[in-house]
């Protein structure tokens, strides 16, 4: 340990109360940043995963142009071929095929326009949570191709219950009229209002028959092992698909392209969070700046003496910088430790905020929130605190260079 470091360490404990207060401020700022960033990231991941699990998947394969304009004619003509590609790609958790059509659906008393989605009952269960969302009746099976699942809100709007019949009237892929009488087998409640009000699900086989689809589908819905794998999986599917056919006419959008609203919501929330953090950091920085400035004014005499006995101003500056770095590091380190412990505790047990269920439900978030500690959330905030405090200690430190030994020794 160099002499300067040793001196710096001893110096900071010459006034323990002030030092502890400063360290506490730094530690508190770091703690808050670690916890809040983890909390935000945790919420985002929950939001993304909920949406992904209910409807869109992490990735989809679809015909070029289908994402922008859901025209019935834009189909994946040969789903088998796509399936053979998807089976080989690493990082894919599960996939399923779906087909969608806009239709009028009517009960005895009411008529609404809805999206009818054809799903493969077995594969769908491995991709989405729909099976676990059934509140009444039961999930689809392979036999009942004219059975349907509807959302709780839609069932209320149509005034129907399980085992009631619905008439669907829409347009098939060839432009002919698609009509069928369907039996309600189950009612689901996803908690996402729009989904519960506008979606009707039936077996893919039945859908293809009613809507003259042949064996074609509209989208292949894919879930990856984790959110982080999405980019890699996307790249690989794109490569493999284009290898198979030069111009496959297929597009591989990820969840950010499928749900731009969700991404924008996250960006907006993160941005307002960052503004809060900046304010917090600036306040902490000023208090540290003040502490250092005070310390130097107070110790003018001491510095004068040190210079008089031959210490160069550069060495004193170094000493003061070491003091600030020591203090900051102790603060940040304890902040990260306590913050991480706190985060880990809540990561395990969740945070329940009373009275927010409804608003969270709208965004598809369960009523308990779980922060998620990661390397980024644990280090990003404290790192910024370190940089800012370092900068705010530079200015007082450089004032020392202007000191003249005789004048300094005479200062009060």
């Amino acid at each position: 340990m160099s002499v300067e470091l040793k001196m710096a360490w001893r110096n900071i404990w010459r006034n323990p109360r002030r030092t502890i207060l400063t360290i506490a401020a730094i530690a508190f700022a770091s703690l808050i940043l670690v916890f809040m960033l983890s909390f935000q990231f945790g919420c985002y991941e929950t939001m993304i995963n909920t949406s992904v699990k209910i409807s869109t998947g992490h990735l989809q394969v679809m015909a070029q142009g289908y994402l922008e304009d859901k025209k019935m004619r834009l189909v994946i003509k040969d789903p088998e071929k796509v399936a053979s590609v998807l089976k080989k790609v690493e990082g894919i958790d599960a996939y399923t095929f779906r087909a969608n059509g806009f239709s009028l659906v009517s009960s005895e008393r009411r008529t609404y326009g809805v999206v009818v989605t054809g799903i493969d009952p077995i594969k769908e269960a491995s991709v989405s949570t729909i099976e676990s969302l059934i509140r009444k009746g039961s999930y689809l099976d392979l036999e009942g191709i004219y059975d349907v699942l509807i959302g709780e809100a839609l069932s209320r709007n149509l005034k129907v219950d399980i085992n009631d019949e619905l008439t669907v009237l829409g347009q098939g892929r060839d432009g002919s009229i698609a009509a069928a009488v369907l039996t309600i087998k189950g009612i689901f409640d996803s908690g996402i209002d729009e989904f519960d009000r506008n979606v009707l699900m039936m077996g893919l086989k039945g859908f293809q028959e009613v809507f003259s689809m042949g064996t074609s589908v509209h989208e292949a819905v894919i879930t990856a092992h984790s959110l982080g794998d999405v980019a890699m999986v996307k790249q690989q599917i794109q490569n493999d698909l284009s290898l198979q056919r030069k111009d496959s006419g297929l597009n591989v959008p990820d969840w950010m392209e499928i749900m731009p609203g969700l991404l924008q919501g996250i960006q907006m929330d993160l941005f307002s969070g960052i503004i809060m953090y900046i304010i917090l950091i600036v306040v902490v920085a000023f208090s540290i700046f003040n502490t250092f400035l005070m310390a130097i004014f107070e110790r003018t005499r001491e510095f004068g003496v040190m210079m008089a006995i031959g210490t160069t101003p550069g060495r004193i500056t170094k000493l003061v910088m070491f003091e600030s770095v020591c203090m900051t590091l102790v603060g940040i380190f304890s902040g990260i430790c306590i913050g991480s412990l706190l985060t880990l505790y809540f990561q395990k047990y969740g945070i329940y905020i009373a009275g927010t269920e409804d608003i969270l439900k709208e965004y598809g978030i369960p009523d308990r929130l779980y922060p998620r500690l990661s390397l980024i959330s644990a280090s990003a905030g404290p790192l910024v605190v370190f940089l800012i405090t370092f900068v705010s200690s530079v200015f007082p430190a450089f004032r020392i260079r202007k000191l003249k030994p005789v004048e300094a020794m005479n200062a009060v």
Partner: protein
């Protein structure tokens, strides 16, 4: 002296202006009355054209006055018997396969009828142009010895309409040649054109109609009449839900 001349000029020109206003409204009213007749029974082929594919069907239609109509698909066989009944502003659809009648909710009125470029609104509100718009004569030209009126129609304030402006081209013998629809920014959205004017059982009538989106040259819906008969009156029982189910084709 100058003042007197001016007064005379104003007095003389005033009736002309008034006349022009009344005239345009009348031209439109007459044209639409002529187009629909008191009542009509027709058979037409409808072609929906899209980039890469086309769909054809044959339709039998009954109309009565400005509000009531019944359209039934007679070809292709797969869709035979599918019908749409419109009474005043309500619409019902019937499908023989499931043997059900569905009443169209108001939110569906701007959707295309049977996937065509004619919206349900186009079918349900064809009389709205007479009631909800103010018409002005923009220009009169002469083509093949017949006067052609170009009329601009702007919706009355608070009228429940979807178009910001409609431009009509009407021949002096009441034949509607073109109806162009504009949005609130006066950008052209779609246009209906008519040609192939022939003598039907009682009057001259354009046998071909085409509705085309302005920004998509490859997307249109075309109506070609096989046969159209104009009648004085049709039985009320034609425009009922019972008849929608079984129109006796």
């Amino acid at each position: 002296m100058k003042k007197a001349l001016l007064t005379i000029f104003v007095l003389v020109s005033l009736p002309f202006n008034l006349y022009a206003q009344i005239d345009a409204g009348k031209i439109v009213k007459n044209a639409f009355a002529y187009w629909r007749g008191e009542a009509s029974v027709s058979i037409a082929a409808m072609t929906i054209h899209r980039p890469g594919w086309e769909r054809r069907m044959k339709i039998k239609a009954w109309t009565q006055g400005e509000t009531d109509s019944l359209f039934v698909i007679i070809e292709p066989a797969k869709d035979k018997g599918n019908g749409t009944l419109k009474l005043a502003k309500s619409m019902w659809m019937y499908n023989p396969k499931v043997n059900r009648i569905i009443k169209l909710p108001p939110s569906m009125m701007s959707q295309g009828w049977q996937g065509s470029d004619f919206s349900n609104n186009d079918l349900a509100k064809t009389d709205s142009i007479i009631k909800d718009y103010v018409h002005t004569l923009e220009e009169t030209t002469i083509d093949q010895g017949k006067k052609i009126y170009l009329i601009k129609s702007i919706p009355k304030p608070d009228a429940p309409v979807i178009w910001g402006m409609i431009k009509l081209t009407i021949r002096e013998d009441h034949i509607l040649l073109k109806e162009e629809f504009f949005d609130e920014d006066f950008e052209s959205v779609k246009a209906l054109t008519a040609w192939d004017i022939q003598m039907t059982d009682s009057k001259l009538f354009p046998m071909q109609w085409k509705m085309q989106k302005t920004d998509a040259a490859d997307e249109y819906t075309q109506f070609v009449y096989d046969k159209i008969e104009f009648k004085q009156n049709l039985s009320k029982s034609i425009f009922t839900r019972t008849n929608l189910k079984n129109p006796g084709l």
